[in-house]
Symmetry: C2
Subunit: 209 residues, 2 copies
DNA sequence: TAGATTGTTAATCGATTAACAATC
DNA sequence: TAGATTGTTAATCGATTAACAATC
């Protein structure tokens, strides 16, 4: 029942996976599932799944299983995906553009509310339906927007600098796509998405000729 | 000394992180570092770093530390990043386009050698310097190319189908950007990059108003 | 030599999974 | 009731870290 007991990071990551599976089950109009079903669909051990949920309360009925809609709703709630989250995007290059136009983000209630760049020739042009703004204005812009999540999609060499501006703009969590270790004040949560790292791990597993 | 003893996945992931740090040290012309330096720069415990390396042999000199260039070279070698790896990209949308034009990939010796899509209006047009080819031709195309790594950058609903084509084309490792659980034959290694999952974890950590 | 730092062992910590009483 | 499946405890497994002899 306690929602405050420290939740392991892997549990949190799997929660998002369960949501993906549950969304799919909803589409297929399946309305009850067991932890064993999850095991076969998500590749996560059934006991693991039940344990993960146990950090947040009771969700199923012994002998029956879980109601798909209810479980989806409750996990969304836990991950704070039940209401729209405003997000600041920094970097209007290829990657930033792809992120701003990425449908699954909207589907899960993340809304990019502003895009920033430092390139004068981009400032005041549009990225999809958003005006690209001067990165120097991020602090004042976010006074109104009040976004708490920031995405860094700029080259590595300026990522640290951008991170500091995001912190100044009162963002408290950062998703960093640049392959750099950010130095951040405590209290700021950051995650790195590193394509090259992912490919490197795959590369290691390649058969040796 | 054994390179074959099963290496933990987190070790492999950190190896790529070390490489990033080492590249940076090379740029700064620093040529010797200790595990304690790595701890402060990569945020990884010094003992952890030494343990990670120990799966692959001996790399440093007691009392001295590690030679930056040599360590970089050896880790590159371990991850098979010392020679160019050909990669097939499926999906010539926004994300595929961003990946194909992503400089760090080239910097680490990954080379996208072909792009495939199923959209007739895209086929035979160019994505950067590559001709977009019909996904139906992937098997025959890869007979010549012999790429072993595939990237899936298509919408979720077609990701499974694309994965199967990649397997048919004799790819053995897959990086999947679609938020779906792929069902793959054993022997195929896959990793998912899920932006929404990353954001969901951040979202969880958001202060409750 | 004295000081620094490695590679590795052993101790700790935490996450995964099996087992089962409770319950539908 | 008998069968199914949960939530949770306890056992297992594996990864992280501290400690230290070896060595530069």
């Amino acid at each position: 029942m306690p929602s405050s007991a420290k939740v392991p990071m892997p549990t949190l990551e799997r929660l998002a996976t369960y949501l993906t599976v549950l969304t799919d089950l909803k589409v297929r109009s399946i309305d009850t599932i067991s932890s064993a079903d999850i095991e076969s669909r998500a590749g996560v051990n059934a006991a693991q799944f039940r344990k993960d949920l146990s950090y947040f309360g009771e969700f199923g009925r012994p002998g029956i299983g879980y109601n798909v809609n209810e479980l989806h709703k409750r996990i969304s709630r836990i991950l704070k995906l039940d209401k729209t989250q405003p997000v600041l995007l920094v970097g209007a290059g290829n990657l930033g553009s792809a992120l701003a136009g990425y449908p699954p983000l909207r589907a899960e209630n993340f809304q990019i509310v502003a895009v920033f760049d430092n390139n004068p020739s981009k400032i005041d042009t549009k990225l999809w339906d958003l005006a690209i703004k001067d990165i120097e204005k991020i602090v004042s812009e976010n006074e109104t927007l009040q976004a708490k999540i920031g995405i860094i999609a700029v080259p590595s060499r300026v990522a640290q600098e951008v991170a500091e501006k995001l912190v100044e703009a009162k963002v408290s969590t950062i998703l960093n796509f640049a392959p750099t270790m950010l130095k951040l004040p405590s209290g700021i949560t950051a995650r790195n998405v590193d394509f090259v790292q992912e490919l490197a791990v795959l590369s290691f597993h390649l058969p040796n000729d």
